[in-house]
Symmetry: C2
Subunit: 223 residues, 2 copies
């Protein structure tokens, strides 16, 4: 019998992606541009949180947003209406943003002239967690109407996120949702995670979140 | 309002894939190695057709097979047992073979010492049709138990295939399947398609199929 060579494609492609992501991170660090990758289910409030964040930090930092959507430009238009540069990646069915897509998204941006790039990932709690984008930090949103069992169901997303934003806390009175339980589970999965409670609609909690992001940025720029 | 840049990711990635596929095809042509990409639904008889083809052409040509499977090595073992070199791509969930995977699959093979490489694509009538592998010719199998409505449901697959193998014709007596209707629909979608009727179990029709492939190979090698 002749020999058989076995090639693990998924690992090979993930390792290629990791390699490119590391390269992107390296170049951004050299150019003093901080990149945040924001993930969540569809409709958890990624765009709203980005708009609130722009409001808070726009005076202090030069910001751009890379929006990923299966097939629309609505979010990019909302961001651009705030006077911030937006790149819309129309993924055409791809379920997450990978490093190759980020490379394309960064190309039209003059990265050296930016302090902060925010990636709004595709709405999905599974695939984005497995694919390094080249961002310096990952943040995720869990909105109250989604239920407090999500850390048990999607542990990987909670493990890779540096910050967890529990959004739509105005629904807490109506929902059977324990912020305390989510915090405990998230910190069990990821002891370093920082948790925020927000309501993007009213602006509640946005100060703490923005302050955390500002601190990350200032620490990064001071290096 | 700041400007928005729109980037079509799917098109960009498909065009990158096309570029790499063209490069692979170019190198194989230079090295006088013909590559065939074999596609079908799961269980239509791809491995059986490859084993029958090896039997027929092994004496005349130096053959290797690139097997793609979500998570097994069974097919590669069957091929290797016939004394033919096999590379197993374990796709780990990817639904089709793209040019990057083929590039990895060709690497352990000494391509210059081969006349024919057959890719057994992932069992799927949709995604493989959209992704150029770098092969010189595409072939697809439609097995009788799948039904004769497949050209209407998966037209792209029939459009990109140079040869259509209608397999498991021993089921024709039991199934409501019109080979004539399939031929007509396939030729409407792709006027140049060549159609074969086979039964890999008994070997019926394998001569015509092998003869076609042999002719493709000889024409290619004569160039």
């Amino acid at each position: 019998m002749e020999d058989i060579r076995l090639i693990e494609i998924k690992e090979a492609i993930l390792s290629e992606n990791k390699h490119l992501a590391d390269e992107i991170r390296h170049c951004l660090t050299r150019d003093k541009t901080f990149m945040l990758n924001l993930m969540s289910s569809p409709g958890s409030g990624k765009t709203s949180l980005i708009l609130r964040t722009i409001e808070k930090l726009k005076g202090e930092f030069r910001i751009a947003v890379i929006e990923a959507d299966i097939d629309s430009m609505v979010d990019a238009e909302k961001v651009a209406a705030r006077g911030v540069r937006a790149v819309q990646l129309r993924t055409g069915g791809f379920c997450h943003v990978d490093a190759r897509m980020v490379e394309k998204g960064l190309k039209p941006l003059d990265v050296k002239e930016l302090d902060l790039v925010i990636i709004e990932n595709v709405g999905n709690l599974v695939c984005p967690a497995g694919s390094d984008t080249g961002a310096h930090k990952n943040a995720m949103i869990l909105s109250v109407p989604e239920g407090d069992d999500k850390p048990l169901k999607y542990p990987r997303m909670f493990q890779v996120s540096d910050a967890l934003v529990v959004n739509k806390i105005d629904y807490l009175h109506a929902a059977d949702f324990s912020v305390q339980a989510v915090k405990q589970q998230a910190m069990f999965l990821n002891p370093d995670v920082v948790v925020f409670e927000t309501c993007c609609r009213t602006g509640e909690g946005i100060d703490s979140w923005s302050h955390w992001l500002e601190t990350q940025l200032l620490d990064f720029l001071a290096c």
